[in-house]
Symmetry: C2
Subunit: 234 residues, 2 copies
């Protein structure tokens, strides 16, 4: 049983497979931390904002992205319930975090966090691990945008979402996508049109169903996995 399949997306969950279930200072602190609600399209933080807090998603979903001066946008990840966002940004945020559906967040002041980490090396290690997972996910995405075809990218995206669902005890083959085609396109380095066409192609090939544009049913999981063009060894 090698690496537990370094999954894609931005999965900073604090409950990794290996980790203990004993509650840490961080988890206790998060449970008591102030709550914040943001509506769809509302920003959690924006590039340049002072990094006063990090957040844990309780419900909902958040898109994380960077923007070029001419408006081109790269979504670098999506944060789902359990994920931490805002880590690794000293001083000010280096990207934008925008809710893609109504979202509840736990807010943790960075000052308190740093202090806690200074006193408890285990907490520091947890944060380090969360960052390492995010780095792994970003590298996987880089591999996808740099080397894979449009179809492979969309398939990899769907499979990553499926795996995440499975890991959190939900259905691996039937799910709603919280993000728009534009979000997916900017995540995968494609255009809206190409993403849409690719979805329809997969549908026509009988690999997925699309009862609504936001709802995906995976029909032939094995076939999709074959198309993904996996990583070496594994």
């Amino acid at each position: 049983m090698p690496t537990p399949h370094a999954a894609s997306h931005s999965h900073l969950a604090l409950q990794p497979a290996v980790s203990s279930t004993q509650s840490t200072d961080l988890e206790q602190r998060l449970a008591h931390a102030s709550l914040r609600r943001v509506e769809t399209k509302e920003f959690v933080f924006a590039e340049g904002d002072p990094t006063t807090h990090i957040f844990q998603v309780e419900t909902g979903a958040v898109a994380l992205y960077k923007i070029l001066s001419d408006g081109r946008r790269q979504v670098v990840g999506f944060a789902y319930p359990g994920d931490l966002i805002g880590l690794g940004a000293e001083g000010e945020h280096v990207m934008n975090a925008q809710a893609i559906k109504p979202t509840r967040l736990r807010c943790l002041p960075v000052g308190a966090l740093n202090q806690m980490a200074r006193q408890d090396a285990r907490l520091g290690f947890k944060l380090y691990e969360a960052l390492a997972r995010e780095l792994a996910a970003t590298r996987d995405l880089l591999l996808t945008t740099g080397q894979r075809s449009a179809t492979e990218r969309v398939v990899a995206f769907l499979l990553a979402f499926s795996r995440r669902n499975e890991r959190s005890g939900k259905d691996a083959c039937s799910f709603d996508l919280p993000m728009t085609r534009a979000d997916i396109a900017d995540f995968l380095g494609l255009t809206i049109e190409t993403v849409s066409r690719t979805f329809t192609k997969l549908k026509v090939q009988g690999l997925i169903e699309l009862p609504q544009s936001s709802h995906v049913e995976i029909v032939d999981l094995a076939a999709l996995k074959n198309m993904e063009g996996g990583e070496e060894d594994a």
Copy 2:
């Protein structure tokens, strides 16, 4: 003075602009750590190898990359003198590290490192920062491969190299590239031919000189910076 321009490439240097010059345990330890020499094309570690050590590049350069089962390769970064490689990989390495020129490395056993980090929160924080810098660099690269044109990618690559040179006190407008066109191509998500053609185009436009294929002279830095298509705000 906002963020000090989150630069590209994989720059895990332990001497960030802001940081103190006081020697840390890590730096002391590194100074006494065992030395390893690797020749061009030799592996420092490969995907799947148990993570027994992390390394700091002393001289030379290392390419970090992932491979798909069909052989497609994504270079996720280059490590230069001062950079740490192997961080953030619990258990086994998730990528390949291959020298691209004769290289000297300091080797640090992860066991010792973890122990030190447990005792010294400052060291833990240093490692956290190093990882955060690597994440920032990877996101920048993601933005580049996902959104920029071939010319913009090559220009961004040259400017990133130039900035790194400048930061380490070398010439920002005249340097040797240690990596091959293939390495650059796999880094930027392009083909060898496109990279080569783009270099030639920049030369013909009078923006750079190429006395040898590995030596770059930046002639019109300002023009290149204009072509880069920078990030929002800044």
